[in-house]
Every structure is written in structure tokens, then in C-alpha cells.
Symmetry: C2
Subunit: 274 residues, 2 copies
């Protein structure tokens, strides 16, 4: 059984209901262990104040999300995207986040060159890794579902992420989200291959059989088809000891509910369905 | 440049506009080489009459689609699904189809056992292959995009399909659809691995950057982000010499247009974008 005391809230799950301060309060009120804020929320509150709020909250900061993409149509754009990531690395360091989660970007506008986009990602990671290491921040590469290859991230399997970790060495790990990888026939072996050192974050939600939208229709754990218990076992057999971070994009359901209701159900589902 | 004289119509592309007889007429009127009918259209017309119409049309029957799934909640269901496939094998043989295309099915209702569904597929293929070989019909396993793993097909990469071909031996090949595999970092090498003997069908359309629906929002070649020319080159370097079969599911666009307009544009796009 999953240990409910390891539950964390990825703040996207409640971003419609709660700003960052309210999310921190909600996590504390519900006795959650961790929180994963997004960069846009830091900006909303003012990053200095947000960093202080998070650092002083007593919550584990399981990651910082939403630093943006790494792919772009030209060098100047990519340079600016790197700068945004350097800033996010600094924020992650200041708040003591366990990692900076990287959603690496899809095809630049008008491009069909997927292999080229993937080379851009590798090159950008080559720049980011030493910078993050110097700041004492782990980078967590998140492979995204293949349906996001064009728009959001051209790293689309755990195998690809592991290959990049092999190539780029220490300082680069992985954020595993069940939504993106549950279909992968190589999942068990690639989790083993990643091992405890690389498995920096574990995002949970569910894949709804009748998914109505590519981006914003994820389910609460137990409402879909993913064998969550099996994936959690694989993660823990590989040595993962971190939080279970609930990240749900849900335009028509969970983003419409009361935040406290969402957190209560999250905890129950972590206990019973993960 | 793609050879437009190898264009074929997968009849799902015009199934709203045209019944099977109209689709055959349309293909002949536009000088297409081939047609790929669906089982539901055989049923609509009466399979005997439909088979005769297709066989006598002079068109290459590049495949027969829509025989149904192979996964099911219990043995009786799976037995009935096999029987449906035996019948489709007979129809494919009678009309002289180049292959029977297999979309293997996803998770049985209420199941989260993806590995189990995949075993069901392997076992069913073990039954189908000898039967198809005896009938002189090639089976073309179609790996589907991972976003269909739950609902439609649990074979989600060309690598998986190649593994099944290795395991089950002669009589089993592959239908490659760009929509399902374009994102795969292993695509080039897995096309080479498949080789001419296995590459039985080549389905083309495009992935729209702003995809509005998981099932019914495919694009016309050139309207999306897939590097179609590169995938065609890989197919042809591997020895593929068959038709370019246009299969577009498009609730809000191509299914709403005049059938002749669709075929005219198809041909222009095959010539310029493939």
C-alpha cells in the first residue's frame, strides 16, 4: 500500500482555485508532505516572496515546474530560453527544491524536424547541467506522452530520457509521470535502468478511458486505466523513496471543484489506489 | 518525389460522403491505383456483392480494414472476435486484398492489465497466422499511437510489431501509418528492421499541431507537422513498393467536404508533400 504521508501537491492541480499562498496553506491544512510550485506562480506573487514562503513552509519542495521549453526556431530564442532556465535554477536553489522539472519543448513553429528538435534539447541540456550542478540543483527531465511531441516535448519515452542521462552524466535525472509513460512496453526495464539516483520525481494521476482533450483531461488516481500500483512498485523496487506528487490537468472536472475537496480525495486515492 | 500514380484511397476518408460503390467509382474517376475498404462497408452492401465489385473494379485492393479487435474480457468473447477475423480473412482472399489490416484492441472493459492484453494479442495472432496463410492472405499488424493504448490497440510501436513478427514468423507483416509512429525516435531503424517483406501497407495523413480530438482530427498531408518525405524515403529505402494509402479520420473537416474535392486534393498533396 502506498504511504499517504508521502503525498505532495503539484500546484497545477489546484491553480484555478488557489494561488500559491493558498496552495501552501492547503497542503499544510491537509497534512501533505510536499508541494511542487510552478514558475508562473512565483512570478504572480513576486519570486522573492514566493521563495521565502515556500522555504519557510516546512513542506518538502518536490520540484519546481514550468520553466519553459528549450527548443526554438533560432539561436537568439534558444539563448533566451536558457536564460529563463538559469533563473529557474536559481529559484530552485533558493527554495531548496528537490529538482527543477524540465519539459523540453516540441517542434519550433513551422518545423517538421523532430530529430533536430531533439538535438536542440541535448545541446541545451549540455549548457544547463553544469550550471545546475554549480547551483546544487538536480535537473529532472520529464519524458512526455508522444501525443505532445509536436507541441510540448520531443522527449517521449523513458528510454530516450535514460539515453540522455547516459550521455550527459551526473546532474541530470528524470521526473516520471505515469500519464506519459504508462503505455510503454519497456517501462519496467527502463525504470530499473534509471535506478534510484536518476528517479527524482514521481507524478501521479490517471488516464481516463474516454479522454476528451489532449491536454486538459487527466483523471484522479483510480478513475482511469493505469495500473498505478504496479508502476509504484516498480519505482520503489528501483529505490525511489520520494513523494507521490499529484499533478492533474483537468479543465472540466478537478479544476472546477473546491480545492479542499480535491486534496481530501487525493489523499484517499493515494491510500487506496496507488 | 512521390509517385502520384501509386495513390490509394482508404475508404474511411470518404465514408461520410460515399458508400462503397461510390468510393470505387470515385477512385476510378480520379485515376487512383488502389482502394482499401472497411468491413462495415462490405456488410452494408452485402459482402458477396461488395467482394465482386472490388475484385472486378480493376483497382488494387491495398488492404481490408476494420475486422475488429482481438482483446476481450473472457474466452468466449475472444473466440467470437477470432471468428469475425476468420470471416474477414475469407473476404480478403476473395477480393484479392494485399493484406488484412489488424488493429488489435486495447484494454478489455474494466481491465488495467496492459501486459495481459498484449499477451491476448500474441495468442490471437498465433491462431490467425496459420489460418491466413492457408487462405493466402497476409496479415498486417498496425501499431497504433500510444494515445490509443486503452481503447483501440495495445501494440503501440513499430518495435513491438517487429518483435511480434519475429516471434510469430511468416504470414505476419506490418501496416505502417505515419500518424501513429511519426514521433518514434526508433522509427528509421525499425523500418529498416521490418524490411520489404514485412512492410505491407503505408498509410498517410498528417498530425495537426492543434489536434482537437484524439480520434477524429487527422490532417491532410502537408497540413501538419509530420516529415512525410523523410518517412516515405525510409519506407522506400527499406524496399516498400506499394501504394500510398490516404487514411484520414476528420470529423470537422475532410468528412464534411465533397468527395471529389477530397480526392483531388489528396492527389495534389501526394505529389507535392509526400
Amino acid at each position: 500500500m502506498a504511504d499517504v504521508s508521502r503525498t505532495a501537491l503539484n500546484t497545477i492541480t489546484t491553480h484555478r482555485q488557489w494561488n500559491l499562498a493558498q496552495a501552501v496553506e492547503g497542503c499544510l491544512r491537509h497534512g501533505l508532505k510536499g508541494i511542487t510550485p510552478w514558475c508562473f506562480q512565483l512570478k504572480e506573487m513576486g519570486s522573492k516572496q514566493a521563495v521565502k514562503l515556500l522555504r519557510d513552509s516546512g513542506l518538502t519542495i518536490t520540484g519546481l515546474c514550468g520553466a519553459g521549453m528549450l527548443t526554438g526556431p533560432d539561436q537568439a530564442t534558444r539563448r533566451a530560453l536558457l536564460d529563463t532556465h538559469y533563473q529557474a535554477i536559481d529559484h530552485a536553489a533558493e527554495m531548496g527544491a528537490a529538482c527543477l522539472v524540465l519539459v523540453v519543448g516540441g517542434l519550433p513553429d513551422g518545423s517538421k524536424d523532430l530529430a533536430g528538435a531533439r538535438r536542440q534539447v541535448r545541446d541545451a541540456l549540455g549548457q544547463l547541467v553544469p550550471r545546475a550542478q554549480a547551483a546544487g540543483v538536480a535537473l529532472a527531465l520529464e519524458p512526455l506522452h508522444p501525443m505532445y511531441a509536436a507541441t510540448t516535448a520531443c522527449i517521449n519515452s523513458l528510454s530516450q530520457a535514460n539515453d540522455l542521462c547516459d550521455e550527459l552524466g551526473d546532474g541530470l535525472g528524470i521526473a516520471l509521470d505515469v500519464y506519459h509513460v504508462w503505455w510503454d512496453p519497456q517501462l519496467e526495464q527502463e525504470i530499473q535502468r534509471a535506478g534510484a539516483d536518476r528517479l527524482l520525481a514521481f507524478h501521479v494521476c490517471d488516464w481516463l478511458e474516454n479522454t476528451r482533450d489532449l491536454a486538459f483531461d487527466r483523471g484522479m488516481m483510480g478513475d482511469g486505466v493505469i495500473d498505478l500500483k504496479q508502476i509504484r512498485r516498480w519505482m520503489e523496487l528501483a529505490g525511489y523513496q520520494g513523494c507521490y506528487e499529484v499533478e492533474i490537468f483537468s479543465q472540466q472536472d478537478w479544476w472546477e471543484r473546491d480545492g479542499d475537496e480535491v486534496l481530501s480525495i487525493m489523499k484517499r486515492r493515494i491510500a487506496s489506489r496507488l
